[in-house]
């Protein structure tokens, strides 16, 4: 396990605090993620594709997909915010669909195709969504950004696939790309720096270019 730096911890606290209304009202219990080290960990082999590359791992069953990516494959672009499904920092694509990598076990993904922020684009070859986030200042500290970008790429695909949302007025009509739709569909990604309006602008630009 890595020892997170002080900055890392304060950021995490903030993200968790902001997500508190989704779990509990006011039971500030951050002392979790206990690990039982005494019991012999039971392991399982798993093989999946990460960013187009076949990876074979033998993992302690307890390893989340997030920890497999970060600690075992050293793909640290995907971030750990809350580790409880409340912030979206860990969003990756599994077979093209966005999921919270912190709430799924790595061994449950045998044969799956996983895409992380590193696979979407590289510094000299940015994905259009990455470029749009840079152009529109869609971040400040950047901690939520890999999750925001993975999420928004999959989100536009969901609209294209005509998956409705909570704010879709007519369930039988095709889905539209509006700021209200983008906001609702991106609500699973919390930004503690509050870069939301610029994030919506970045996504809107990419959506417009695509349409």
């Amino acid at each position: 396990m890595q020892t997170p730096g002080a900055l890392d911890i304060s950021r995490r606290d903030l993200l968790v605090a902001s997500a508190a209304t989704v779990t509990v009202a006011g039971a500030g219990s951050l002392a979790h993620a206990k690990t039982n080290t005494s019991a012999a960990p039971a392991g399982t082999k798993v093989s999946f594709t990460v960013n187009g590359e076949r990876r074979e791992l033998e993992l302690d069953n307890r390893t989340t997909l997030l920890d497999a990516l970060r600690e075992h494959l050293h793909l640290t672009g995907t971030k750990k915010g809350c580790d409880h499904g409340q912030c979206g920092a860990c969003t990756v694509l599994v077979d093209g669909r966005r999921v919270n990598a912190c709430l799924t076990l790595a061994v449950m993904h045998d044969g799956d195709e996983i895409t992380t922020i590193e696979g979407l684009g590289q510094p000299d070859n940015l994905h259009p969504m990455q470029a749009a986030f840079v152009k529109h200042d869609g971040f400040q500290c950047g901690f939520c950004t890999p999750g925001q970008i993975c999420s928004s790429v999959a989100m536009l695909d969901e609209i294209k696939a005509n998956i409705p949302s909570h704010v879709t007025a007519d369930l039988t009509a095709p889905s539209e790309i509006t700021p209200a739709e983008i906001r609702e569909r991106m609500s699973g990604n919390i930004c503690r720096c509050g870069a939301y309006s610029n994030i919506v602008e970045a996504i809107t630009e990419v959506a417009g270019r695509k349409a």
Partner: protein, 316 residues
């Protein structure tokens, strides 16, 4: 997290047998609730049976004119299904009001029904909680109970059931199909799936330990105006304080179930007859036996007002 062994089940029989044969075994579907609780060691299974490979991921028509929803159909896929959107809009709406897109992409039909309470003291292992540790007491009674239940509660537990989907299923009178380790199958009306806490709040439903949910069956469509309205502390990605699922017919008759106020989706068939008399009468009947705390008594007013808004929308 405690160590556990892991098995990918490839048939329903294999899954049910493994569950009965291994003390401490649990099924894992989307994992979005179970893993969350395992990290906190609130759930401590010794063996996980992964049921994602069982092929229970289809929505099929039934001979009765309804739909059979496989237990592993993801919340996203169910909400987006053309037939659900057209004929059971209430269910689509309830699903889309829950969690986030990422979570709905993993969350399954069966897992959603069996998700556990979000009571803050159930989550805080330093606090007494009869549900987590039978006999230890209930910290919520004198604590933060804003999110918790006002009806169906007991002196031992006032936890609310957090599912939005279950509220819609209750309005639609869905049935839960299961298979047990000996191969026998049964169909449980959704009204009978969840148990009230009484003095055993740790027992939350009527399923046996090894009983696998295979499908949830919807009767034929009800028509009418279908509405799901959720009131919460923020506009998205938050659990309900109060939610209302309703089907209202042109003549003003209908059905209603309430979420966020009870240990299970709350519906009283007798109240349906009251709907034509307006929200005040219906809410009074629904909440006749309410036992709110000081912190959640506002829900009594909120139910009436939300119902009033729902009935107005249905008329409009």
């Amino acid at each position: 997290m405690r160590a556990f062994s892991y098995q990918r089940a490839s048939s329903i029989e294999e899954a049910a047998k493994a569950a009965v044969g291994t003390e401490g075994a649990k099924f894992i579907a989307g994992g979005t609730n179970l893993l969350d609780l395992m990290k906190l060691e609130i759930e401590t299974p010794t063996h996980l049976i992964d049921v994602n490979g069982l092929g229970l991921d289809r929505v099929e028509p039934t001979p009765e004119g309804g739909l059979r929803i496989g237990a592993l159909v993801r919340n996203t896929d169910l909400a987006a299904d053309e037939r659900i959107r057209r004929d059971y809009a209430l269910l689509s709406r309830a699903l889309l009001a829950g969690a986030s897109a990422q979570l709905r992409n993993r969350a399954t039909t069966a897992g959603n029904l069996l998700q556990r309470t979000r009571c803050p003291y159930f989550y805080d292992t330093n606090q007494p909680c009869n549900k987590r540790q039978p006999g230890s007491g209930c910290a919520a009674l004198a604590g933060f109970s804003r999110q918790l239940a006002v009806v169906g509660v007991s002196d031992a537990c006032i936890a609310s059931h957090p599912s939005d989907m279950a509220v819609a299923m209750r309005v639609l009178d869905a049935a839960v199909e299961t298979v047990r380790a000996d191969g026998t199958r049964r169909s449980i009306p959704i009204a009978e799936l969840h148990r009230l806490p009484g003095d055993t709040p740790h027992i939350e439903h009527v399923l046996e330990r090894s009983e696998l949910i295979t499908a949830v069956v919807l009767p034929k469509p009800l028509g009418g105006k279908q509405i799901y309205r959720k009131v919460r502390d923020r506009a998205s990605y938050a659990f309900a304080l109060v939610s209302i699922g309703a089907v209202v017919q042109p003549d003003g008759t209908g059905r209603v179930a309430i979420g966020g106020i009870a240990p299970k989706p709350w519906r009283e068939e007798a109240v349906d007859n009251e709907l034509a008399n307006g929200a005040k009468a219906a809410a009074a009947k629904l909440l006749a036996n309410a036992r709110p705390t000081e912190q959640n008594a506002f829900k009594l007013t909120l139910v009436e007002r939300t119902l009033s808004a729902v009935l107005a929308e249905a008329r409009g």
